[in-house]
Amino acid sequence: MAWFKKDKTPLAQQEAKKVKVPEGLWTKCSNCSEVIITKEIEKNLNVCPKCNQHFRVSARQRFDLLLDAGSFVEHDQDMVSVDFLQFKDSKSYQERINASVAKGGSKDAIICGAGRIEGTPVQIAIFDFSFMGGSMGSVVGEKITRAIERALDSHTPVVIVSASGGARMQESILSLMQMAKTSAALAKLREKGLPYISVLTDPTTGGVTASFAMLGDVNIAEPKALIGFAGPRVIEQTIRQKLPEGFQRAEYLLDHGMVDIIVERKDMRETLSKILKMLYRP
């Protein structure tokens, strides 16, 4: 499922392109090649001021972008993955977990908690793509399920911001089962008439797309985000055909009826707030 060439390609590549130019003071945009003062890009929510290319942002940054200041209460922050299969390729899964945790960001590929979006209470889960490519194992599945169950208990809407290469291979069958588990929790939420908004950011693929990420009452994508089930390389190898221009990008999905709207990062909070206020009955 995690069709993506692991962590290093997508994120590192983008990061490198962004930061390489002298001393980090200047950044060359990976899309329009314009050289821009890095601070300008950061001030612009990590979006290129020249061409509107949306670069990746960390999960923590996203909380700041979406939630009312001081409203966030994190849940399940100490939950960590275990290498129950003793899975080993070039490194063991345990080593990979340790290395990712040591980076100091989060303890797994998702951060969950309660907060408010312009006053509306939400249970929110945001992926951290820098943690093993945002891959979904037991911890991600469990934390999302608990967030949904907390929403059921507290009668609040759910927002999930996805950025993931898909299921985490190192947990094999149990990572696959997280798809069923999270989708089943969403079924309960739906029966209770509580809104769920799925925000799909670059990239959202594999088992994450094929479960909760596609199940929003409203599916919102960031501009040009790569969204799909199979990765483009796998498709190309299978059908031995060139992929159409813009294939699996947010705009392409909008054209094919798979997402409701494309929303720029700067407008995301306001859009979420408006939709929630219209759908949610406290």
């Binding site: 499922m1 995690a2 069709w3 692991k6 399940d76 100490d78 939950m79 960590v80 275990v82 129950f84 299969l85 899975f87 080993k88 390729d89 070039s90 037991s138 911890v139 599945g141 469990e142 299921a167 985490r168 291979m169 947990e171 094999s172 069958i173 149990l174 990572s175 696959l176 089962m177 997280q178 798809m179 069923a180 588990k181 989708s183 089943a184 929790a185 079924a187 309960k188 029966e191 594999g206 088992g207 797309t209 094929a210 479960s211 990420a213 596609m214 199940l215 799909g228 089930f229 199979a230 796998v234 498709i235 299978t238 059908i239 055909q241 992929l243 294939f247 094919h256 009826g257 798979m258």
Partner: protein, 318 residues
């Protein structure tokens, strides 16, 4: 057993069985080779036993993919009666990689569906190698919802390398189709029995595999990604499938230990492909027994138990 396809690791067995055949052809009234043949047959049986009791995970995957392994339509013929195939998703088309329809099991109506592979080249292509497009999953869901309306239990057979990775599949929402099935299957108010019969390939398998009972044939496999796909990503070498198969722990025994399946259904000696009748008989018994148990449960309890069953599937520390 007209054309027997032998797997790499069955070579010694293949040689022995050929010798038995040759001797049988030579055997006449004047030259009775019965005793000799009997001896060899005993030896073949022993060999089969020893090979199949110690298969590696990679070898198990070969058995799971065996070309003569019974497919969904074979089980439909051997276990059920009066099968009426129902076609189409009422939206885009009919996907031949999933077959579905009404049938009787021990005289009681049920909804049956499953992935369908082909045996010869023409049928393989017709069945898209058992890899469904979104309309296949949508057909499955349409008929599951119909089963619910008419209070019919659902039985699904899982045997796919995975959902088809193609342009059209993406355009028509492969991810959405799978996701919706997962969500809806979790709430259906009729009993659902899932049988992993061959390859349980990732989300493409799971999309019809959310059930109250999940059975798995002894030499079937079930994993988040194919060994080859996993090898291509983690070892950057698609030929390292054997290594990846070991790492993925994809056999029925492995999956049972993780409590993702409820029951392992024993296969005939040498694998289901050697004796469709025997395999079907064993599976028939397992289906009937599980269905009888599930029929006792009120709908509400059934749905809540199904939720709890999948809810528990995870390993972590906190």
């Amino acid at each position: 057993m007209a054309t027997q396809f032998y797997m790499e690791f069955e070579k010694p067995l293949a040689e022995l069985e050929q010798k038995i055949q040759e001797l049988s052809a030579l055997s006449t009234d004047t030259m009775d080779l019965g005793a000799e043949i009997g001896k060899l047959e005993k030896r073949a049986e022993k060999m089969r036993e020893s090979i199949f009791s110690s298969l590696t995970r990679w070898q198990t995957a070969q058995v799971a993919r065996h070309i003569n392994r019974p497919f969904t339509l074979d089980y439909l013929k051997l276990i059920f009666t009066d099968f009426i195939e129902l076609h189409g998703d009422r939206n885009f088309g009919d996907d031949h990689a999933i077959v579905a329809g009404l049938a009787n099991l021990d005289g009681e109506p049920v909804m049956v569906m499953g992935h369908q592979k082909g045996r010869d080249t023409k049928e393989k292509v017709f069945r898209n190698f058992g890899m469904p497009n979104p309309e296949g999953y949508r057909k499955a869901l349409r008929l599951m919802e119909m089963a619910q309306r008419f209070k019919l239990p659902i039985i699904t057979f899982v045997d796919t390398p995975g959902a088809f990775p193609g342009i059209g599949a993406e355009e028509r929402g492969q991810a959405e189709a799978i996701a919706r099935n997962l969500r809806e299957m979790s709430r259906l108010t009729v009993p659902i029995i899932v049988v992993i019969t061959g390859e349980g390939g990732s989300g493409g398998a799971l999309a019809i595999a959310v059930g109250d009972r999940v059975l798995m044939l002894e030499f079937a496999v079930y994993a988040v990604i194919s060994p080859e796909g996993c090898a291509a990503i983690l070892w950057s070498d698609g030929t390292k499938g054997a290594q990846a198969a070991e790492a993925l722990k994809l056999t029925a025994k492995d999956i049972r230990e993780l409590e993702v399946i409820d029951e392992i259904v024993k296969e005939p000696l040498g694998g289901a492909h050697r004796d469709h009748q025997a395999m079907a008989a064993t599976l028939h018994e397992a289906l009937a027994r599980n269905l009888k148990e599930l029929r006792q449960l009120p709908a509400e309890e059934l749905v809540e138990q199904r939720y709890e069953k999948f809810r528990k599937m995870s390993r972590f520390v906190e």
